[in-house]
Amino acid sequence: MVAMLAVMETPAIITGLLLARRSLGQASSDRESVFSPQVLRQVFLCGSVVLLAGSFMIGWTTGDGGMQIMAPLLKEPFQAVLAIFLLDMGLLVGKRLGDFGQVGKQLVMFGIYMPLIGAAIGMAAAAAIGLSVGGITLVAVLAASASYIVVPAAMRLSLPQANPAIYVTLSLAVTFPFNLAVGIPLYHAIAGMIGPA
């Protein structure tokens, strides 16, 4: 399940690019740039992905013993670091509040109802394959999330016509806080209702 986090960005990028290409009316001759070496490097070798995949491998190979060694840094302060991280995000969003003017009301609504649609589809699929309540919740959260780390950088390379003030603002300032404040508790509650007893 955790591995899904590391790989979920790639299908999202490809889907986004294909949708954009279609509405831009570009022929499939342009398919080269979807997988250009620069974009691939950005997606698979950018700092965040390397850290994520690397930590996953370290955790897998060192197991419980490794976790005990890292616990003082990783386990104990986790909630506190998360709180500081979220405050920092708030600062970031506050700095770019002007971007909301470019985004507009309709897109902000999209940033809220799209995660709900994604979560619904994710939950239905997870329940259908018989995952636990926790598993259903996690799939719902993943399906409802919007990337602000890997995807914006990859998009800047492969779809420069798209305005980053819009897509970064939507994923960072609308969908992310919505999922944190409303989404996760909501998906968990529904997963409890539809999941195995």
């Binding site: 620069q38 002007g98 960072l172």
Partner: protein, 102 residues
């Protein structure tokens, strides 16, 4: 000390596009360049300054000192690369001490 006239090109460009600009500068024959990281400002795309979480709004300043022909080639080649990306390209006159280095 004898000074030699050269052209100085300054390119403020968003970080995503910087690698292709640097590649083009070397291909045009420039002997080197300087990159200043994390410059920020405002233009017709709005405010662009570094937000450490997402790299998309980061900008760099590239300085190249070269002969006039190379400078003009860099200017010409920069325009198609900057389509859809935030960038400012300027050229000015400078004098250098070591003629053979630029």
């Amino acid at each position: 000390m004898q000074l030699h006239p050269k052209k100085r090109i300054e390119i403020v460009v968003e970080a995503s596009c910087a690698p292709s600009i640097l590649e083009m500068i070397e291909a045009a024959g420039a002997k080197g360049y300087t990159v200043l990281q994390d410059v920020s400002g405002k233009g017709n795309r709005g405010i662009r300054d570094d937000s450490h979480l997402t790299d998309v709004f980061r900008n760099v300043l590239i300085i190249v000192i070269a002969t006039e022909e190379i400078a003009h080639e860099i200017i010409n080649n920069s325009q198609p690369l900057l389509e859809n990306y935030a960038g400012i390209v300027t050229m000015s006159d400078v004098d250098v001490v070591r003629d053979e280095h630029f």
